[in-house]
């Protein structure tokens, strides 16, 4: 799966969590812009993990601050 495919799938996954309808760019941050709290993060990560059949450990999550970084991480996990 290429990066653009992953991007479009995650874009649809994020919708129910993006309650304020924030515009999503590569630099959109989960804590700052999207205001995800820890419970939302857990549910969102679980949705991505199920979609791509991967694990994003908390150690890896700690390195992911922006939407672009998430796409990169999932892309890498998919092809790792």
């Amino acid at each position: 799966m290429d990066r653009a495919d992953i991007d479009s799938r995650i874009r649809s996954l994020i919708e129910p969590f993006n309650k304020k309808g924030v515009e999503i760019t590569e630099n959109t941050s989960f804590a700052g812009d999207l205001e995800f709290d820890s419970l939302t993060v857990m549910d969102f990560v679980a949705a991505i993990e199920d979609e791509f059949d991967i694990i994003i450990s908390m150690n890896q999550q700690a390195e992911i601050e922006t939407y672009g970084q998430l796409i990169d991480a999932v892309h890498k996990l998919q092809n790792g």
Binding site: D37, S38, L39, M42, A46, E49, D50, D53, I54, I55, S57, M58, N59, Q60
Partner: protein, 416 residues
């Protein structure tokens, strides 16, 4: 999860603003000031001026029924337990001034470990200075770099901190969700070492885990299993060994973690295990090695208490009766509770919000009842809870009094 005052169980990173190193705590300082300005007695600054019994104390000048102490079996004033502590204090002095692996292992520490081995019917027992350190030490030591820890999202702070201290990959799953746990285990590389961490009773809502199913799944994926039975020791399971025993799966648990600060009635923590190489933990587990051991009086009280807890069927039954009576009575009066039926000796009353919760807590204190106020972010789903933990020494009459107090306070605050 824990009663962690105003912190979440998972470690929080505070954003630094300008100012000094304390600036990051400003929002919390403000929230606390606002709460106190509303005139509430400080829920986190209560002083027990005198303790009359396991169920009664003088708090802030008032005679108060204690319903939030985790002193489940009421062993704190047991005459045999107190006598053993006094004797050890006279015979061995006030402290060991040393690590267990240097000069800190006394006869009493060995006797305490023997009592635990007998209580759990296991080959090895290791006593730590607190329950927190038992989780911190065992989890951070056995799961290393490249290994995976799969744990419930509502785990206690000591479990999360054990994860933080070690180098394993941390993979949480939704609370008590067997399917979510299995999915994660399935996705972990087959050759990687795996540790599943569960609790018998989750202390926030007082609900129990489906250990039978979860442990079967863990074993299917060759994971080792650690179960924290802090809130079940002494009264859940035929021999009081906890939820794993009650569900018939204790033989599949690789490590049971427990504490002396609840049913045992003193302070300290432990891990029991049948693993043939378990004793090496004493040399490699840093929170065990680099801490002074428990004072002789503490291990003497613990050992005596543990041995007495092995023969306590009547007290266990009374504790269960108390828990069921309180649960049913609160439900009948219109309170929303954390579980449908009483699953443990913890009954959690769900408050509509923090303001009402704090007001209710204070109204109960003025009635002469102490419960725990648990609030976000320490709580699941950001709930505000009044957590009640029952004691085998609460009389039937006291439980009736407690229900009356809840009814009056609930009406005053406008919750029921």
């Amino acid at each position: 999860m824990s009663e962690g005052i105003s912190q979440s169980d998972r470690p929080v990173t505070h954003d630094a603003e300008k100012g000094d190193l304390f600036s990051k705590f400003d929002p919390l300082i403000k929230q606390r000031e606002d709460l106190l300005e509303s005139g509430v007695e400080d829920p986190f600054n209560l002083v027990m001026e005198r303790v009359l019994s396991p169920t009664q104390a003088i708090c802030n000048g008032r005679e108060t029924i204690l319903l939030g102490t985790y002193n489940y079996m009421g062993m704190t004033f047991d005459p045999d337990v107190v006598a053993a502590g006094k004797q050890a204090l006279s015979d061995y002095g006030s402290g060991t001034t040393g690590s267990r692996v240097l000069n800190g292992t006394y006869q009493g520490h060995k006797e305490c470990e023997e009592a635990l081995k007998a209580f759990y019917g296991m080959d090895h027992a290791m006593v730590f200075s607190t329950g927190y350190q038992a989780n911190l030490g065992i989890i951070s030591t056995i799961a290393g770099k490249g290994d995976y820890i799969v744990l419930d999202i509502d785990s206690h702070a000591s479990i999360w901190d054990g994860c933080s201290l070690g180098n394993a990959e941390i993979v949480p799953f939704k609370h008590n969700d067997i399917d979510a746990m299995e999915k994660r285990l399935r996705r972990i590389p087959e050759e990687a070492g795996k540790l599943v961490v569960l609790e018998g009773v989750y202390s926030m809502l007082g609900d129990i885990a489906p250990l039978k199913e979860m442990i079967a799944v863990a074993k299917k994926y060759d994971a080792m299993v650690l179960v924290d039975e802090a809130h079940s020791m002494g009264f859940i399971g035929e021999n009081g060994r906890g939820v794993a025993e009650a569900q018939g799966v204790i033989d599949d648990v690789d490590f049971v973690i427990g504490t002396f600060s609840k049913s045992v009635g003193t302070v300290g923590g432990f891990c029991v295990s049948n693993h043939p190489k378990f004793e090496i933990m004493r040399l490699v587990c840093r929170p065990y090695v680099f801490t002074a051991s428990l004072p002789p009086s503490v291990v003497a009280t613990a050992a005596t208490s543990i041995r007495k807890l092995m023969h306590n069927a009547d007290k266990r039954k009374h504790l269960w009766d108390n828990s069921q009576r309180l649960h049913a009575g609160l439900k009948e009066r219109g309170f929303t509770l954390g579980t449908e039926e009483a699953q443990s000796a913890i009954v959690a009353v769900i408050m509509p919000d923090l303001e009402k919760g704090a007001a209710m807590w204070e109204a109960l204190l003025k009635e002469g009842l102490y419960v725990n106020l648990a609030r976000p972010p320490a709580t699941p789903a950001n709930m505000t809870l009044l957590r009640c933990s029952l004691c085998a020494e609460h009389s039937e009459e006291q439980v009736g009094t407690i229900l009356d107090m809840f009814e009056r306070a609930g009406k005053t605050v406008g919750i029921i």
